[in-house]
């Protein structure tokens, strides 16, 4: 039960953290000329940063929206089922009385 309640929160936290990391990486890359660093310096770190940033963007723009929708839809379903179960339990108790 506890794990189910933590689901949407954990997803939201993951998304927020990814957004922050993405924001930081974007600024780090924008602060210098990426082409110069890659072409001239053969800077492996910059290449890795570019790959990481693009990977995170693909996740944020392509995967995350559907995932967030799924988490929301699932938690709504769970809440609805739990509400229905609680209501029927209450009805049963009333009838027993």
């Amino acid at each position: 039960m506890r794990r189910r309640r933590a689901g949407p929160g954990l997803s939201a936290l993951t998304l927020c953290l990814t957004l922050v990391v993405h924001w930081i990486l974007g600024r780090v890359l924008a602060s210098s000329d990426v082409l110069a660093r890659v072409l001239v310096g053969r800077d492996v770190l910059t290449v890795l940063l570019v790959v990481a940033t693009l990977g995170i963007r693909l996740f944020l723009y392509l995967v995350a929206p559907g995932w967030a929708l799924f988490v929301l839809a699932r938690s709504s379903c769970v809440r609805a089922v739990w509400a229905r179960a609680a209501a029927s339990r209450e009805r049963g108790q009333t009838q027993a009385r």
């Binding site: 974007g26 600024r27 890359l29 924008a30 000329d33 990426v34 082409l35 110069a36 072409l39 001239v40 570019v50 940033t53 693009l54 963007r57 693909l58 723009y61 392509l62 995967v63 995350a64 929206p65 559907g66 995932w67 967030a68 929708l69 799924f70 839809a73 699932r74 379903c77 769970v78 089922v81 739990w82 179960a85 609680a86 339990r89």
Partner: protein, 380 residues
């Protein structure tokens, strides 16, 4: 009593597939395409944010060159491209928003000063013996001068009294004469190297000069366009990237990067031919998925790994062809293609807004200058 299990595994899978599908089909295209129409419609605030970033980046450069690789050719050509595209992009914004003229003119003038400095492209002097600007009465090609002349034309379109006007007149006359004499409509860029996209820049610059000065070169450019198309445009409609000097024999495949940049340049000289190139990009080149488009580098039936003109080629589409096609799409009023290409640029270009300036973090100074010109492309 514990409640019934809220959902079975299969229900969760169906829900998951449905959500991911809806998320993929609707959200990314909306998220990445929000600014496309603002750029296409020439929204000043949107264009200005990128323009200020490019102008600052170019203006803060201490030397002539931006990149110091072991290739003097790349260093010189990339500097020429940066100065040229910066001038073109800023001028295109001024043409749409004349109130920005005073803000940009200084940066344009400084860029033009570097552009006409023979030391910026000293590679040309090393292979020809002297830079083309130092001897305009030669019969040699020097087609790289087209890039310089295009920028001078755009500068003149927004500043009729520019100090480069006389040079612009002389250079345009010399290049027009070379095009007139070229049997196939092609001239060399460097000794033994004939690149049709460079010749497109030459013709575009002559056409732009005619537009801004009123000199009538219609007949010359119409005749040139026919010879050029017969020699360098392939059956697919793509432009051949390189031909053997003095002939129409291809030395490289028909390529998307060359076709797209030529569709932009030739738009200033021979709009019908430019529209044909643009429609070939749309017909043969556009690859689309979920509202994101990119342009294939090689015409159908050809393959390769690209080069510095194309940038990285992934899954057959190239960064160069896709970026330049933005300019061709805007110049030809193709909003849908522009929007689809812009989404791809937004996703992979890593836009960053810092202190009111827009930078595409992946592009560096070269990429941002090119994008400024392409995103704001228009005729005077």
């Amino acid at each position: 009593m514990s409640p019934a299990r809220p959902s079975s595994v299969s229900a969760r899978v169906v829900l998951g597939i449905g959500c991911v599908s809806i998320g993929l089909l609707l959200v990314p295209r909306w998220l990445c395409g929000r600014e496309a129409d603002r750029y296409f419609d020439g929204d000043l605030e949107t264009q200005d944010a990128l323009a200020r970033s490019v102008a600052r980046s170019v203006g803060s450069q201490s030397g002539r060159h931006f990149y110091h690789t072991k290739s003097t050719r790349f260093d010189g050509q990339s500097a020429i491209a940066i100065y040229q595209m910066t001038i073109m992009g800023l001028a295109q914004i001024i043409l749409q928003h004349p109130e920005r003229r005073d803000a940009y003119l200084g940066a344009m003038d400084r860029a033009a000063e570097h552009l006409v400095d023979p030391k910026t492209l000293d590679y040309a002097a090393s292979v020809y013996g002297q830079h083309g600007l130092n001897r305009l009465d030669t019969t040699q090609g020097h087609a790289y001068l087209g890039y310089i002349n295009l920028a001078l034309g755009m500068l003149r379109a927004v500043d009729g009294s520019t100090r480069f006007a006389a040079l612009h007149d002389r250079l345009s006359a010399a290049l027009a004469e070379r095009l007139k004499r070229a049997p196939n409509g092609l001239i060399e860029t460097y000794p033994g190297e004939t690149w049709p996209p460079d010749v497109a820049a030459v013709a575009g610059s002559v056409g732009l000069h005619a537009r801004v000065t009123g000199v009538d070169r219609r007949a010359l450019l119409d005749a040139w366009a026919k010879r050029f198309a017969a020699c360098a445009v392939s059956r697919s409609g793509y432009l051949v990237q390189r031909v053997r000097t003095g002939s129409c024999v291809p030395a490289d495949a028909p390529r998307g990067s060359g076709t797209a940049v030529a569709a932009y340049f030739i738009g200033f000289a021979a709009p019908e031919l430019a529209a044909q190139l643009q429609s070939a990009l749309r017909r043969e080149g556009e690859r689309s998925l979920l509202g994101f488009s990119a342009i294939r580098e090689y015409a159908p039936g050809y393959a390769g790994r690209g080069d510095t003109n194309a940038g990285p080629v992934l899954f057959g589409v190239s960064v160069g062809a896709t970026g330049f096609a933005l300019g061709a799409a805007r110049l030809h009023g193709d909003r849908e293609l522009y929007r689809n290409l812009f989404r791809t640029l937004y996703l992979f270009g890593v836009p960053a807004d810092i202190r009111g300036e827009r930078t595409f973090a992946i592009g560096g100074t070269l990429g941002n200058a090119l994008l400024l010109a392409m995103l704001t492309a228009r005729r005077p």
